[in-house]
Symmetry: C2
Subunit: 115 residues, 2 copies
Amino acid sequence: MAKKKEHCDCLNTVKPVRDALDVISGKWKLPIIISVGVGNDRFTDIQESIPGITPKVLAKELKDLEQHKLLKRTILDGYPVKILYTLEPYADTLTPIIYSLKDWGINHRKVVTKE
Amino acid sequence: MAKKKEHCDCLNTVKPVRDALDVISGKWKLPIIISVGVGNDRFTDIQESIPGITPKVLAKELKDLEQHKLLKRTILDGYPVKILYTLEPYADTLTPIIYSLKDWGINHRKVVTKE
DNA sequence: CCGTATCCTGCACGATACTG
DNA sequence: CAGTATCGTGCAGGATACGG
C-alpha cells in the first residue's frame, strides 16, 4: 500500500527560500541595490538612475532594504543636512546568488525560446 | 565634474535575474516543484500534499512550470485515462540555486533577528 | 480524477501633488 | 533635497461551484 508522499522537508526548505526571495524580489529591489552599489548615494541620484520609479516607492524600498541590513542610511550634519545611502558589506553576501540567478536566467531564456 | 553613475550593466543583470526569479517566485511554485520532486505525480496527490492550494491555482501553476520545461505532463491511455506529472531533468539545474537561497535565508533570519 | 468557470479580494505598485 | 499624502489600478491569488 503506497504511502502518501509527504515531502516532509517542504517547509524547512520553502520558508527560508521565501525569506531570501522576499529580500530580492519585487520590481525595484535589484535596480536599487545595483544603483547604490555603483555609487549613487543620494536619494535623488538613485531616483534619477532608475527610470520610472516614484519617490514614494523608492522611499519604501529603501526602508525595506535598510531593515534587511543591506543598506545603511547616514545623516550628514552640515548645511544643508545630507542623507547618504550606502551598501552594507553584508549586501555582498547576495552577490554570488545574484550571479547564479543571472547565469541561470540567461541560459533559461535559451532553453525556453528554442523548441 | 562628477559623472552620473549609470550602473550601465543594470539591465544586463536585472533582466535575466528577473527571468530566473519569475520561475521560482510566487506562492506555490516551490511547494509544487518539491511535491512533484518527491514523487507526487497525480493532480490530486499534488493538491492534497499542499494544504490550501485550490485546483484552479494548481492547474495554472502546473501549466507555467510545464512551459518553463521544468515539468512534464504525460497522458497515460487506459481506462480511465491518467495524467502524470514528473520533473524534467532540467529542473535539477535549479537545485543549487534553491539551496543557496535556503542557506542565505536561514542565515538572514539570524542576521535580522539579533540586533 | 482532473480540471474550468465565475466572482471576489488584497496589496504591490502607479500618478500626481505637496512639504520641511 | 528627501521625502509624505491621496487617490487610483492591475493582477496574483482565493472561494465556491460545476463539468467531461
